[in-house]
């Protein structure tokens, strides 16, 4: 068995009595408990941010990418004919699932927020809007633009890319930020545990000396330190994560249409990943303590 595996086995099934050779050093332990708790609490939000951004990106991508609008600008007497021609073009465009000219009422509804309800639209030279819903694969926007230019001058395709791409970019950055926060959190925990191991071993130099004199191997000496810090990190992060989940659960749920922050909630996979986080914290702590203890014990001979 490799040393790491046997240490891991000792960690889980090892002789707990062996731990008593190291005096319980309250300070380092409590600090470990507290910091890993706080870090795990933050990790829940990092995770929620990443997952929510990912969800938002998919949603916007799907919804916005599958809709497009054609604006037809023409003198009022040609408008109906051009609308007809546009719909005909769309019928023969592959990838278009559905195309429909908006009715006057619908257009009025769209404009109402800006112009009010009692405006008579038929008195204004407004463009006619045609809504397109594409199939999953989508249609060739450039090709359609060229065809419209040739066959229906005045019809302009807007496939929302100008709106969609910067949004996607922003969401992608959010997601990256979320993962970055998680990585940082694990790095902080590893650093803290390394420091804690060093402090514990230094504070227990006499213990290490006595154990060495009586024939204790490094892995025996390490065991108690590793087990303590790993378990403290595991317990601390479990508490932190539970608190984080409780906080997210208790956050007022904002109406979905209100946009971004309403996405900070956990769904299926989020809950599962959160509940796995303490184990990740435990593994990080384990690796960091073993590593730090190896280095320190090699120095004290």
């Amino acid at each position: 068995m490799t040393p790491v595996l046997s240490l891991l086995r000792n960690l889980i099934f090892g002789d707990i009595r062996a731990d008593s050779v190291v005096p319980p050093s309250g300070f380092t332990n409590q600090l470990t408990l507290f910091i890993s708790g706080a870090m795990a609490f933050l990790a829940v939000f990092g995770l929620a941010l990443s997952l929510a951004s990912g969800r938002l990106a998919t949603k916007w991508n799907n919804e916005l990418a599958r809709t497009a609008t054609i604006r037809i600008i023409a003198p009022p007497d040609q408008l109906a004919g051009k609308t007809e021609a546009t719909l005909k073009v769309l019928q023969t465009t592959s990838g278009v699932a559905e195309a429909r000219a908006l009715t006057g009422v619908e257009q009025q509804a769209l404009l109402a927020p800006w112009l009010g309800h009692d405006l008579r639209l038929d008195l204004l030279p407004l463009p006619q809007l045609v809504e397109i819903i594409s199939e999953k694969v989508g249609f060739d926007a450039t090709g359609l633009r060229l065809r419209l230019l040739a066959e229906v001058p005045g019809a302009i395709l807007d496939n929302h890319d100008r709106l969609r791409l910067p949004l996607l970019d922003a969401v992608f950055r959010m997601q990256l930020l979320g993962w970055g926060v998680l990585v940082l959190i694990f790095a902080v925990v590893a650093a803290m545990v390394t420091l804690g191991t060093n402090v514990s071993l230094a504070a227990n130099a006499q213990v290490v000396n006595v154990l060495r004199l009586l024939g204790a191997t490094d892995s025996y000496i390490k065991q108690a330190f590793v087990r303590r810090l790993t378990i403290k990190t595991f317990v601390g992060s479990t508490l932190g994560i539970l608190l984080g989940l409780l906080t997210i659960w208790a956050m007022p749920s904002v109406d979905k249409s209100h946009g971004f922050l309403s996405g900070i909630e956990l769904q299926g996979e989020g809950w599962i990943i959160s509940l796995l986080l303490p184990f990740v914290f435990g593994v990080v702590a384990f690796v960091a303590t073993v590593n730090a203890a190896n280095q320190v014990l090699r120095k004290i001979s």
Partner: protein, 225 residues
Amino acid sequence: MIELDAVAYSYGGGEIFSDVSVNLEQGSFYFLTGPSGAGKTTFLKLCYGGLLPTAGHVRVFGAKVCSLERDQVAMMRRKIGIVQQDVQFLDHLPVSDNIVLPLTISDRNSDLAAPDLDDLMNWVGLTDRARGLPEELSGGERQRAALARAVIMSPDIVLADEPTGNVDWEMSKRLLYLLTELNQMGKTVLIATHDLSLIRAAKAQVQARVLRISKRGVHLAGANL
């Protein structure tokens, strides 16, 4: 058992001793004597790998100490009972737990029957101190506890640095008797001391050899001290 071959040691300043060649034979009983500061403690540390010689070689159980892996040094120490001059314990554990610590470390607690432990505690006169903490022990009691800890594994070699430094004559003789008993069981014993009356008392019980440490090195002393 323990061979020193042209060994020299220096802590960084001048050499404490140089070109020391001594062979500690199995089953023998040795005293190491010499004035304070002569290097008795240093010699003992070289014998169990607590220090590595600056020149020459130390062989313990036939293996060169300087070429042993860390875990091998640990295994070697399990066969050597050591009483240091400045005895250290795990201060948070009761005296009895400290005494059985070598067994705990090598996962052999089950080897020791409770009556044996009681006997040992009784022998070193610490029965009513067993549940106390090491810091509650007097200087002499600490040395007795350390001796008990050193012999509990029934080691092949016992190295004791001034084991009777702080105890009265009666207790000294008792501890000496414990060590001569071990020697009679075939163990090698080396005691560093400047207590000449202890050496004389021992000579009545066992065939003890005396190593004298001086500026010129380490030599077997003649019959008369």
